[in-house]
Amino acid sequence: MENSPTTLGSKGLIKKHEFLRVIIQCLYSLGYKKSASCLEIESGVRYKSVEFDLLESQILNGDWDDCIDTLNKIKDVKDDTRSSVLFLVFKQCFLEYLNRGDDSLALSVLQKRVPTLHMSNETVHKLAYNILALKEMELGKLDEDVISELRKRLVMELGKQLPPPIVLPERRLEHLVETSVTAQIDSCIYHNSQDAVLLYEDHCCGRDQIPTETVQILTAHSNEVWFIQFSNNGEYLASSSSDCTAIIWKVMDNDKLTMKHVLRSHQNPVSFVAWSPDDTKLLTCGNLEVLKLWDVETGTCKHTFGDHGFTVSSCAWFPDSKRIVCGSSDPEKGICMWDCDGNEMKAWRGMRMPKVLDLAVTSDGENLISIFSDKEIRILNLRTNAEQVIFEEHSITSLSVSIDSKFFIVNLNSQEIHLRDVAGKWAKPLKYTGHKQNKYVIRSCFGGINSMFIASGSENTQVYIWNRQSSTPIEVLSGHSMTVNSVSWNPKRPLMLASASDDHTIRIWGPSQSNKIQPAETST
């Protein structure tokens, strides 16, 4: 044993005695006390430092003067830490003197010892007031067991406050392993699973963890498909088209989609759909179209909002599934909030109101995010009425918000997607490039576990996928023959992605299969 190295690992970064100490702590915390003490004896490494061992025995025996002396002698402790641990000791000491009726000693601690720590007046005054509170509890009746328990608590409290190496932070080995696993997950560009990560090997997901192959082609639309969106529960997909219809598709247990309803009532192309949070209702609208509300179960139109002149470019739901908000590219119409029966509840409109290109309500109902007149993003906090305004250099075509309401992305016709935080704390956005976009409205979305991916359509017939931490695409999916206008990632099935194209089709993408099967076409 004498010749064993003092460091471990191929890089010599780990000190052996520290490593052993962490293992011993882990064994104790897992309840393997015999094994832990056996390892202490065999290795000669103690879990508790000499100083802390001494402190513990002094506190448990009530040797306050020695305890204070020990604390003052410990090196490499910040002044404020030393003060706060000494204060805890003085507090216990003070309490015990009061308990045994030694008021003059208690007051001596309060008047002579505590002031040396330069604690805040408030803290000191609270301690003085505790005298009455303790009297109220009839402290004099506290027996030895209670005092002993309070001393043990003090030891634990000091254990939390004193720095390493005097005391190890709690569950240190677990923390180190967890940090390592988290780092591996963060650097894994394809990570898209909630399964526990194996510790037996370094973690690395393959391409099969994200959708990269077409598994189904939906051909029911007779013209360009402009927009698609999965329902919040992941059981339906809604698509809208320049053929003036919208379609609700059902996602089957085998991950195949079948048509549920064709929604026919619009006279012009339908460019936008929005699911109610409870997925029982669907809104459809278009730049030259009115806003319509549909019942998902029956496929019937429940309400048409406004008159024929009231055209709506985009719409969104509030979390209660009872109120909606819609934006118009006509400044006189502005932004309106309605209930499901078509009663206007609130409106933001007027001569100075710019045209609304897109809008969204965060799923927590806190913020209304709007895209105004090409380059302006406004985030209105609906509770406080505080507003952030963000200006982009290039025209914005679309907006998408993450499920957790913390982030949003915008597509710009400069061939960039910008990711921003809703709270507005970031100075600059994260940028994603690689796709083609300069003429048309291209829509992107968040997807995968914890919204860790971004997918977008493109004018070059491809679908692009980025890991949020990287500005370049990790996958480019080929299959469509014309511009891909919109994509939607299934919120409940992280391996399912849908894309809508000017080639009149919707493609459903899944993980790559080793035995390639020709994608099924579904028209009806």
């Binding site: 008021d103 000191v124 003085a128 005298i131 009455l132 109220e136």
Partner: protein, 220 residues
């Protein structure tokens, strides 16, 4: 804004009224010898019930002012039975005055015991907690007069408590808690303030009116 004396010189003032005003002030503040001398000089009728309690009130006031709150409490209970039972705020103030006196005399352990015995029950009511915290905080300092709560040791604080006690005793005996002199000064001050405000308004309106007339602007 001072008023022309000619406006009020014609108003007759009854001597009796002035005597009563002075008398009420002297009695309220327990100037016993001065009261007796004043009665002798003016030939006023002696208000016997008032004078009986005056000496006791004077002693109570004096004890409170000196910080001898326990004696003040004892005499108050003799003079105005149940007063402190009903007026908990005043009772608390007097007890805390004694606590402060013990702290000032550096009898800290005694102060601590007194607080535990007498002040602890008040801690059950939230409105006393903050005050209690301030008083107990005095125990944390070897030199309480240098503590952030030094104002609790001041003569002004004792005066405030003594004055409150005096008023409470008077109220308990169905006597006015404020002297006629105090009330007159208060009323006069308020009236003057109101008149000043009204006067300012009038001046402002006149100025505006002249300004508009000069420029031939019609007022609607």
């Amino acid at each position: 804004m001072d008023v022309d004396p000619r406006l009020y010189e014609q108003i007759a003032v009854n001597d009796n009224d002035i005597h009563n005003i002075i008398m009420s002030y002297l009695v309220h503040n327990c100037f016993k010898e001065t009261v007796e001398s004043f009665i002798a000089c003016t030939g006023m009728k002696q208000p016997s019930d008032y004078l009986e309690d005056m000496e006791k009130r004077k002693r109570i006031y004096q004890f409170a002012l000196e910080g001898n709150a326990l004696k003040a409490i004892e005499l108050t209970e003799q003079l105005a039975t149940n007063l402190l039972e009903k007026n908990k705020d005043l009772h608390f103030d007097l007890l805390s005055l004694h606590f402060v006196e013990l702290v000032c005399s550096r009898k800290c352990t005694e102060a601590l015991e007194f607080a535990q015995m007498k002040l602890t029950p008040f801690g059950k009511e939230q409105k006393y907690v903050e005050k209690l915290e301030d008083f107990m905080a005095l125990l944390a300092y070897e030199e309480p007069e240098k503590s952030p709560m030094f104002h609790l040791l001041s003569l002004e604080y004792r005066q405030h408590v003594a004055e409150s006690l005096n008023r409470a005793i008077l109220a308990h005996g169905n006597h006015p808690t404020y002297t006629a002199m105090e009330r007159l000064i208060q009323q006069t001050t308020v009236v003057r303030q109101c008149l000043n405000q009204e006067h300012a308004k009038v001046i402002h309106q006149t100025f505006c009116h002249e300004y508009l007339v000069q420029r031939n602007i019609k007022l609607h």
